[in-house]
């Protein structure tokens, strides 16, 4: 078999035990902690609590509960909410996931376009005013996390200038600010990575050869030098995209976007353990998958790494 393909398959199978560890760990964390989901409800009589516990199997030994959860999980069923028995975790996720995925994809686009663009601009003239200027801006963007940038942009463009809606996820205009706020931080990192990796190869022989062959400086910059930056960018982007697509807690909370991130925060505040479990497992699975994809792409770009 082709070594790249083989490595991809091996890595894919390695995900399974890790995912099992995640499911087990989160299950134990949520269930082992004393105090079941119905302990804090003051209104419940002992009989009602007993009934509830029996209904959800909470009176059974931990191992039996675990076995049931695992078997349901393998059948793709993440259970129902304790406080709202007619809501299943699957339905909620199916309803919220597309919103978060869309926001994440826009933000990824922002991060990639702005990050690569400014990185290349900075690297085109190293140690010049242009270079230091763009990198200073990138540093500022890194120090303005989404929960600082989001409210400030909302204050200026939403409340003062009234150019965009303050909340909601209906029109195209609603997508602009959240995507920017979510993506800019990562754009800054990608810009630094791009610049660094491009400058690393600047003095190498193959660049000189390319120049000697009469290639234009733009072509050298975009084809020969940028290629070297791809590996680190993919390695950085893989976990980032997973985080972006699965929803940012902060951005969805600030802009009142009905996505997974906001749902997770609300579930955390309301102790909706079943939902927390489901979201954690889903996030972990997506993150593992993205890491796998990134690994495959990097090996495909540089097959030497596949033959260790």
């Amino acid at each position: 078999m082709h070594p790249v393909l083989r490595r991809a398959l091996v890595r894919l199978f390695e995900i399974i035990p890790v995912l099992w560890v995640v499911v087990t760990l989160t299950f134990l964390m949520v269930r082992w902690a004393p105090g079941g989901p119905f302990d804090t409800e003051r209104a419940l009589t002992p009989e009602a609590k007993k009934h509830n516990d029996a209904y959800y199997g909470l009176d059974k030994p931990l191992f039996v509960q675990y076995e049931k959860y695992l078997s349901n999980f393998l059948h793709g069923d993440l259970g129902t909410l304790y406080r709202h028995p007619d809501w299943s975790v699957n339905e909620l996720l199916a309803q919220k996931a597309p919103v978060s995925a869309e926001l994440g994809l826009w933000a990824t686009l922002v991060a990639l376009v702005i990050g690569l663009g400014t990185g290349v601009i900075a690297a085109s003239r190293p140690r010049s005013k242009r270079d230091y200027g763009t990198m200073a801006v990138a540093m500022i963007a890194i120090c303005l996390p989404s929960f600082v940038l989001g409210p400030i942009l909302l204050l200026v463009f939403g409340l003062k200038l009234q150019m965009v809606n303050v909340m909601g996820w209906n029109t195209v205009g609603d997508r602009v600010l959240p995507s920017l706020v979510l993506g800019l931080y990562y754009a800054a990192y990608i810009a630094r990575l791009t610049r660094g990796s491009m400058l690393e190869v600047r003095a190498q022989d193959f660049i000189r050869t390319a120049r000697a062959k009469g290639n234009g400086s733009v072509r050298i910059l975009l084809v020969h030098m940028l290629r070297n930056a791809l590996g680190p960018i993919i390695a950085y982007l893989a976990p980032t995209v997973a985080g972006l697509v699965t929803g940012s807690f902060v951005v969805e909370s600030i802009f009142q976007i009905p996505g997974i991130g906001r749902m997770f925060v609300e579930a955390a505040l309301n102790h909706e353990d079943q939902l927390l479990l489901g979201v954690t497992v889903l996030f972990s699975a997506i993150l593992l998958f993205c890491n796998w994809l990134g690994d495959v792409l990097i090996t495909a770009l540089n097959p030497k790494a596949a033959i260790e």
């Binding site: 902690a33 004393p34 409210p151 204050l155 690393e200 997973a242 955390a268 954690t280």
Partner: protein
């Protein structure tokens, strides 16, 4: 001196003196260090002042939780330099106390990162072989997990048991502090991975060098070698990564507090203050702007100090812009 020897004999300079000299060439890093020290001093002074006030009735003019509802939210004035919030609490006082909380969480969690990361990395690197492979596999697995979620999960899950435990112990008043400890423990438990990796890599490099070989030949035990010979040589890299992990931890803490899942009232932190500011920004924008300014400036300074230290202590690494 009447001695006619040429005067080019200079005092030998240690690694740290050299590093300091290199650090001082980096103007932005020096300015950042000054800003950071000023901020830390102000926060500590604020907290000491507030504590004196609550216990002895003198010191700072305002308490961080003293409300003055009639006053309400006011712009900056001579009495309240940065204004007051909706409940009439002095914003500067709250910023200093919140900053103290944020910085403390940053330091304590970083302490945990250093403790776990360095021990783990050194053991993995020095033992090598199967132990190393197993330990690094664990790091890989942990690294593949969405740890922000796990930190939130940990805090949610431990919330109820902690509450009932404190009620039993008659310590319900100290709950905000316990929650704070939980926050830094949870952050520290996941942030050490990078440190472990870096320390392991450097340990592997160092252990094949002659001085370690010599120590081993002289019959020193592994623990002594790790402690007396490897650790001092790892100090530089540990300082660099510890400094870089402080802003990461503060960011994480503020992020979680912003969501309302971290620091609980009446205690506050910068993330919590930004959150409160964001929910009232239309009418009282200063409640958002000042906390954001304090937080971002500190983050900026911490990042530059980290970069400066990296350039100064580890000249081999690629210099960033």
């Amino acid at each position: 001196m009447s001695d006619s020897r040429p005067l080019h004999i200079v005092a030998s300079s240690s690694l740290w003196a050299d590093a300091w000299r290199r650090y001082c060439q980096h103007k932005l890093a020096v300015a950042s260090l000054a800003l950071l020290m000023l901020m830390t001093l102000a926060c500590v002074a604020g907290v000491i002042g507030v504590t004196l006030r609550t216990h002895f009735g003198f010191g700072w003019p305002y308490g961080y939780e003293e409300q003055n509802v009639e006053l309400g939210a006011q712009m900056s004035s001579a009495a309240h330099w940065l204004g007051t919030d909706l409940l009439g609490r002095d914003l500067l006082t709250r910023l200093l106390v919140g900053g103290f909380v944020s910085l403390t969480v940053g330091m304590l969690a970083t302490g945990m990162v250093v403790l776990i990361g360095v021990t783990y990395g050194m053991v993995a690197g020095y033992m090598g072989g199967r132990v190393d492979r197993f330990l690094m596999r664990v790091v890989d697995i942990l690294n593949a997990l969405p740890f922000t979620i796990f930190i939130i999960l940990l805090m949610v899950v431990l919330d109820n048991p902690l509450k009932s435990l404190l009620l039993k112990l008659n310590l319900a008043n100290s709950q905000p502090f316990i929650k704070l400890c939980l926050l830094f423990l949870a952050i520290g438990a996941f942030e050490w991975l990078n440190m472990a990796r870096v320390v392991r890599a450097r340990t592997i490099e160092l252990k094949s060098l002659a001085f370690v070989e010599a120590a081993r030949a002289l019959g020193r035990r592994p623990r002594q070698i790790l402690w007396h010979h490897l650790l001092p040589n790892l100090a530089g890299i540990i300082v660099i990564y510890a400094t870089l992990s402080i802003p990461a931890v503060i960011l994480l803490e503020s992020f979680i507090s912003f969501l309302g899942l971290g620091v609980q009232p009446p205690l506050t932190s910068w993330g919590d203050l930004i959150n409160q500011g964001a929910s009232n920004m239309e009418l009282y924008p200063w409640l958002l702007i000042y906390p954001s300014l304090f937080f971002s400036l500190t983050l900026f300074a911490l990042n530059f100090v980290g970069d400066g230290l990296r350039d100064a202590l580890d000249p081999r690494t690629d210099k960033g812009p």
